[in-house]
Amino acid sequence: MALTKADMAERLFLDVGLNKREAKEFVDACFEVVREALERGEQVKLSGFGNFDLREKNQRPGRNPKTGEEIPISARRVVTFRPGQKLKVRVEGYAGPRE
């Protein structure tokens, strides 16, 4: 079981009172606005949850694991997530399976 956009929209319908179409569009728009900010190179900070940061990676040597052939991994920009203190504390307490 995983939380999906459909689950989030259902809660917006039940708790916030958006209609089903509005709720679905809203959840889509939410992730789209965050993606657009990251695309512009802008960090996204959601207090209580965490920060989405951008990191510039230089080119580095790599290898095709199947053929063993050496191919450089090109320079790239990547998104990393740093959980906030509040989320870390909430998650630390989870005592479920150790994966």
């Binding site: 958006l18 509005e22 998104v79 479920g96 994966e99």
Partner: protein, 100 residues
């Protein structure tokens, strides 16, 4: 971009919704995500990414002030894996700069 800037951006976009509803809805989405993770549930958003918990096994740590050993229990930490679309879009400008 902060949470309040996200709320403002969404309010400009979803003009048929009241500002207060946009505010509530963003807070609801963030809280749902925090709650899912704190119950060990994964989050999967196609084109954005997935969140899951990773387990950090127990280890011996040290009190940096006194140098005493302290047993640290195992714990779970949140982990985010960006989805394909997000990875590609974030990297696009860099690629354009390199080739163009």
């Amino acid at each position: 971009m902060t949470k309040s800037e996200l709320i403002e951006a969404l309010a400009r976009r979803q003009t048929h919704l009241a500002f207060a509803d946009v505010e509530l809805a963003v807070k609801s989405v963030v809280e749902q995500m925090s709650q899912a993770l704190s119950q060990g549930e994964r989050i999967e958003v196609r084109g954005f990414g997935s969140f899951a918990l990773h387990f950090r096994p127990p280890r011996m740590g040290r009190n940096p002030k006194t140098g005493d050993s302290v047993a640290l229990p195992g714990k779970h930490v949140p982990h985010f894996k960006p989805g394909k679309e997000l990875r590609e879009r974030v990297n696009l400008r860099l690629e354009e700069a390199a080739t163009g």
